[in-house]
Symmetry: C2
Subunit: 218 residues, 2 copies
């Protein structure tokens, strides 16, 4: 997930033409662990992008639409990264544990790269407009759904059914995102330890779901 580079402002001042990506890049460059999307003003983003506030409206209806675009972009990029990691793991060795480990590692790797889009998704999900929160929820649901399908494929291959796979996928997704939100500020040398913790925590959920299913069918 490479962030678009912020538009450079020429010596002549404001730019006449600006793309959606330029506005998004300008917004991203203003965000930090101390500044949330909801604290950005349209005026600020326009200034950062080197455009007049009015030009902003050529790309986005309002700041809310920009915030939703950021979330959608963050979600789709992360899904792609994790999907690739899973495919890799699946090809190399078809064991549950390696798929789990490589998904968690891809997630932590992305966190470590300082990907601001991911940081927004992890940290700002629960404060903002209705539209913003719905966008975050939509992305979480996509993750949960893909994970559920993956878990069901894996458990079929291993002949060990899961109890309520949708809830197992939800538990994993929410927990990983919550842990990820705190990981954003950790120094790099602590991330490996956190990844190991996450792998154990996810295994607890998977093993629990398998055993609840086994009890159920006894």
């Amino acid at each position: 997930m490479t962030s678009p580079t912020p538009p450079t402002i020429g010596a002549l001042g404001r730019k006449a033409v600006i793309s959606r990506e330029d506005v998004i890049a300008a917004a991203l460059s203003l965000l930090s662990s101390q500044r949330s999307v909801s604290s950005l003003s349209l005026r600020e983003v326009a200034r950062q992008a080197g455009i007049a506030p009015n030009s902003f409206y050529r790309q986005f209806r309002d700041m809310d639409e920009l915030a939703v675009a950021l979330i959608d972009l963050a979600g789709s990029s992360l899904r792609q990264i994790i999907g690739e990691a899973r495919d890799q793991a699946r090809k190399s060795a078809d064991t549950k544990r390696s798929v789990l480990r490589s998904s968690v590692q891809a997630f932590m790797q992305q966190l470590k790269s300082g990907d601001k889009l991911l940081h927004i998704l992890l940290r700002e999900g629960s404060v903002g407009s209705e539209a913003f929160k719905q966008a975050v929820d939509r992305q979480l649901n996509y993750f949960e759904d893909e994970l559920r399908l993956d878990l069901m494929r894996l458990s079929e291959a291993h002949n060990s059914d899961l109890y309520e796979p949708a809830l197992a996928a939800k538990a994993i997704t929410r927990m990983v995102f919550a842990m990820g939100a705190t990981a954003v500020d950790l120094p790099e040398e602590k991330l490996a330890g956190l990844a190991e913790q996450l792998v154990v925590m996810v295994r607890m959920i998977l093993v629990g779901s398998q055993h609840l299913q086994a009890e159920q069918s006894e």
Copy 2:
């Protein structure tokens, strides 16, 4: 956790003397699902409390100290409520499932009551100053630690050891808080369903932790 009532502003305008609780109540009354603590200004809080901005400093060094106070208050109140629910459940029937169920129900009950302190704790943990984030982390660690002790007591009573009880407690706490953050905006009739989901999700973690321990010692 009853929120302190906002101070009433007399016909004569600004109040001369104001307590810490009054300032906290004024800040709480400004917060909503669309407005975060980090978006509040000192001026606004002072106005709401009916005091001059300068009087604010008699109670708090800055807005950051106020934000940390809100988190500490939220955490200690919630711990008390959940602690009481667990004690009740322990007295009435010493089964793991009832302790789990009543803890989750106490949590959802508190959410439903529209407790703004709890909403802050759930939603704003990951955006804000270093001091603010540390305060949230401290509260989460308290929860995890109490839960870990509780889990170990229960598993001893039931003769079923847990694998990495600290990680099980962490997984449960982070997941419940993440689910709680999305629950804040749910209509009341959906909360019961969510509580049932949470109970299943927490059971997955507990059962998983037990079975991983059993595998370990085989």
